[in-house]
């Protein structure tokens, strides 16, 4: 029995990401991918059931990686600001070292493949994060609020900074560059908003 070439499979995955990010969903096709990966179109159907399966598999894999990265070293029993600091550091680290993946992930969340990607991931986030929040509220570190409000104030600014960063352009004239300093400056503002 001929053995599957894992390296070839990796190349397909990588080229798919590159193509999807550079050309968008509308410019992505199985034949282009096959050409880019130096593979027969038929080979793609050994690795994936069809085009949808390919896109969703890659999307789900990135989602899992992201989720895992986010909770690395995160202790739901930790003090509020400390826990939040870990979350910000984890998210920023992952995003800066996986720009291609994150761009694709944002793309897929604004596409018809939306649901499939985020279902499990949201569930895991909810489970771990709600314990952390419950603790913080009980310890009087933060006011009770709908989790959507919390999420929006706590993380949306960070994601937005990173979006400015990877778009390369800015609202101001000079190009915006994300840095540790800017991140923690923003973090302090967010803490000021959330902490009692």
């Amino acid at each position: 029995m001929r053995i599957r070439d894992e390296h070839k499979e990796q190349i397909v995955k990588q080229k798919a990401l590159e193509l999807l990010v550079s050309q968008g969903f509308e410019g992505f096709s199985m034949q282009k991918l096959a050409r880019a990966a130096n593979v027969s179109p038929a080979t793609l159907y050994i690795y994936y059931r069809d085009k949808e399966d390919l896109v969703m598999s890659i999307g789900r894999e990135i989602g899992k990686q992201l989720n895992q990265a986010i909770f690395k070293g995160f202790n739901p029993e930790a003090a509020f600001e400390e826990g939040m600091r870990v979350q910000w550091r984890n998210r920023a680290n992952f995003m800066l070292s996986h720009e291609l993946e994150m761009t694709f992930y944002e793309q897929i969340k604004n596409s018809t493949f939306r649901e499939a990607v985020s279902a499990d991931i949201v569930a895991e986030f909810k489970e771990k994060m709600s314990i952390f929040m419950k603790n913080a509220i009980e310890k009087n570190e933060v006011k009770a609020m709908p989790i959507e409000v919390f999420w929006s104030v706590a993380y949306a600014p960070l994601y937005n900074l990173l979006r400015f960063h990877s778009e390369g352009k800015s609202i101001g004239g000079r190009p915006f560059v994300f840095s540790e300093e800017i991140m923690w400056q923003t973090f302090d503002l967010v803490m000021k908003a959330l902490k009692n």
Copy 2:
């Protein structure tokens, strides 16, 4: 000379929006649009140069509408919190009354058509907003900070709430519904972050 049917043109625009939002860029085609709008494919090429022109025209039009709505009644000389309140109200009003348009606008910003849509819009925002910010800093209402940090803290939470709203689903178990109350609760947190 036969006169152009403006009503028909409107239907094409509306159906294009509906199709793009429900099927995504990858599921959108000129032939599908023609069928949905009860029009010959050739007619689309009377209204638009090609597919790209169609998508971008619609995107740009929404961008202009959004920008106009945002600055309605906005006075750059106003006090910081008051000015921000106008901005939040304007943005929320527009988004809630143009959900389809906003979904499409988010889609296009995460696609290859990105640049073309936001160029002018960002320029106008920068011009008007920088005066407002300069005033607020001089009046000691808010600390100086990079405009990207300001934007991320000031508006990203609002956009994120509205995203939760239109996704219909939530992090929590119950479906999330955007409301005036939740909006101003979030606004207060953001003000706490930004104001001196």
